[in-house]
Amino acid sequence: MTAQPTRRMPLPFPIAFRASGALVERNFAAARSYWRTFVSGFFEPVFYLFAMGVGIGALVGDIQVDGRAIPYAVFVAPAMMATSAMNGAIYDSTANVFGKLKNSKLYESVLATPLQPAEVAAGEIAWALLRGLVYSCAFLLVAAVAGFVQSWWALLAIGVCTLIGLAFASLGMAATTFMRTWNDMDYVQLAILPMFLFSATFYPLDAYPPVLQGVVQATPLYHGVALVRALMMGELGWGLLLHVGYLLALSAFGLWATTRRITRLLMT
C-alpha cells in the first residue's frame, strides 16, 4: 500500500483540500496542449481597453464622477479588469467544466480515487483562480503602461480580481451542473452580458434612471467594478468592505451549492 488513507472532511473550504492540488496539477499538465488559447485570453481585455481608450474615450472626453472630471479611459479600465476576471472565471467554470462532465467523463474517474466531490470542486475553482491571477497581473501591467492607473493601491486590485473570480467561478460551476446540452451555455450569456453592460462599467451609477440604480447595485459585478475602480484611482474608504463582504458571501454560497450539486450529480 502506497497511498496513505486519511480521513477527509467534505467541508468547509478551503481547509483540508490538499488533495485538490492533484486536480490543479492535472489541469496544468493539460494546459500545455492548449497554451495558445491560454495566452490569447489575455488579448481580449486589451482590445477592449484600446477600443474604449482611443475610440469611445475620444467621443466621451472626460467623465464626471462625484463632481470630478476624469479621463474616460481611467474610468473604464478598472471595469475592463473586473469584467475580464469575471469572464475568465465563468469560462473556466462553465464551458470547461461542462466538457469534463459530459464529454470526457473526467470526474467519474477522479471520483473513483480518494478525491471527494468537494475537493474536485475546490480543485477546479482553484485552477480558474490561478489562471485569472495571471491575466489580472498582465492586464494591470498593460493598463499601467498605458497610463490608466493612478495609484499604487491598484496592486490590491489583483487580489480583488481573484475574489471576483472566486465568486463567479463557484456560481458558474454550480450553474453548470444544471446544464443538459451545450446550447444551455447561451443562458450563461444571458446572465453575463447584461452584467457586463450594466454594472456601472461604461458610465457611472448616477447615469442610470433611479429605479434601475438599485438593480445595478444588486449585481455582483457592480461590487467588483466599484472595488477595482476605487483601488486603481486610489480612493479608499471603509465602504469598500461592504463590497468585499458581498463578494465573499456570494462565494460561500457558490461553493456550498457546487459541492452539493456535484455530490448529487455524480455520487448517485
Binding site: 496542449s33 470526457s104 467519474e108 474517474s109 480518494p114 478525491l115 471527494q116 455520487m267
Partner: protein
C-alpha cells in the same frame, strides 16, 4: 476474511429498483464475476462497492470498512476500470498514469518509478508520449487497467472489461488479467460474455432484475442448470415454435428461440440420430458442450446478449 461483504444490499433510483437485496462474500485472491443482461443491477452493485454510489439499503463492507463513512480510505485501496474508459483525453499516456497517481497522493518520485513497469504491463511503452485519442480501443482499455493499478490496489473492479473490443484485443486483455490473478490481485468483474466468464471467473453470481438468481463456479452452474451437451437445430421456418413437436421427447429439456431450437441432453449425437430416425431433416444442426449461456437461458428465460 471476506474482502467484500454484502447483506440485503439494495439500490433504487426513484421507483426503479436496480439492486434488490443481494448477499455476497468475496474473498482475497478470488476472481469473482457478476453475470447478467443490461439492467440486471451489476453496474449499480459495482458502483456501490467502488464508493461512487451511496448504499441504498442493507449493509456493505469493503475491506472491512463502511463505504458511507470511510469512502476515501476504501477508494485508496481500490482500482476501478469503468465501462467507458474515461481516460483523460487531453493528456498523454504517461501523463494519464502520473496525474491519476497524484489523485491518490502518491509522490512524484514513486510515480516515476512505477509508470515504467505499468506501461510495460499495458504494452504501451512506445506510446508513452502519445495523446490518448490516438490509441486503439484495446490500447485504451489496457491503459485504463494500468491506471487502475497505480495505487497497488487490493481489489480491482472491472465493469465489462472487454465490451467493444475486437477478438485479438480481447485475448491480449484476458492474458493481462490472468497475470494479475496469478499475482494475487482480487478481481471483481461484471461480464456480458459467457465464454469470458468461464475463462476468467473462479466464482460468479447470475443477476437478473436486481436479484441473484444463482451462484457458484462456472462448472457447478453448468452442471446444476444445464445438461452436458446441447443439440442446436435450425429449420427453414418463420417460427420455430411450430417445430417443437418434432423434437418432443428427444431431450431432457427443449428451449425454443426465435431462430433455433436447443435440445438439452447428456449425449447430443444420440439425440441427433434419434431426430434423423424420425425423418426430421433440419436445415442445420450443431452439437456442442453446454455453456453459461444455457445456464442463463434456463434461469431467466432470456438469452444474455439481446
Amino acid at each position: 476474511m471476506a474482502l467484500i461483504e454484502a447483506a440485503g444490499l439494495r439500490k433504487a433510483f426513484g421507483d426503479f429498483v436496480a439492486v434488490d437485496g443481494i448477499d455476497l462474500q468475496i474473498s482475497a485472491g478470488e476472481s469473482f464475476g457478476f453475470l447478467g443482461p443490461n439492467g440486471a443491477g451489476k453496474t449499480s452493485t459495482m458502483r456501490m462497492i467502488g464508493c461512487t454510489s451511496p448504499v441504498g439499503g442493507g449493509t456493505l463492507r469493503v475491506l472491512g470498512m463502511d463505504p458511507t463513512t470511510q469512502a476515501a480510505q476504501i477508494k485508496a485501496r481500490l482500482g476501478v476500470v469503468p465501462q467507458q474508459d474515461a481516460l483523460d483525453e487531453e493528456l498523454t499516456v504517461a501523463q494519464n498514469l502520473a496525474v491519476f497517481g497524484r489523485y491518490f497522493g502518491i509522490s512524484r518520485a514513486e510515480l516515476y518509478r512505477k509508470s515504467g513497469p505499468l506501461l510495460q504491463f499495458a504494452q504501451l511503452t512506445e506510446k508513452a508520449g502519445a495523446k490518448v485519442d490516438t490509441l486503439s480501443g484495446g490500447m485504451k482499455r489496457r491503459l485504463t487497467i494500468a491506471r487502475a493499478l497505480i495505487n497497488d490496489p487490493s481489489i480491482l473492479l472491472l465493469d465489462e472489461p472487454t465490451t467493444g473490443l475486437d477478438p485479438q484485443a480481447r485475448h491480449i486483455l484476458w492474458d493481462r488479467l490472468f497475470r494479475l490473478k496469478r499475482e494475487g490481485v482480487t478481481l471483481v468483474l461484471t461480464i456480458h460474455y459467457m465464454d469470458e466468464a468461464e475463462q476468467l471467473c473462479d466464482r460468479l453470481v447470475v443477476m437478473d432484475h436486481g436479484r441473484i438468481v444463482a451462484h457458484g463456479s462456472p462448472r457447478e452452474l453448468i452442471r446444476t442448470y444445464a445438461s452436458r451437451e446441447v443439440l442446436e437445430v435450425r429449420f427453414d421456418v418463420p417460427d420455430h415454435a411450430q417445430k417443437a413437436a418434432d423434437v418432443d421427447g428427444l431431450a431432457d429439456r427443449v428451449e425454443v428461440l426465435a431462430d433455433r431450437l436447443l435440445l438439452y441432453t447428456h449425449d447430443g449425437d444420440a439425440a441427433l440420430d434419434a431426430l434423423t430416425d424420425r425423418g426430421v431433416h433440419p436445415q442445420s444442426t450443431l452439437v456442442r458442450r453446454a455453456s453459461l449461456e444455457d445456464v442463463f437461458l434456463r434461469l431467466t428465460g432470456r438469452s444474455l446478449v439481446e
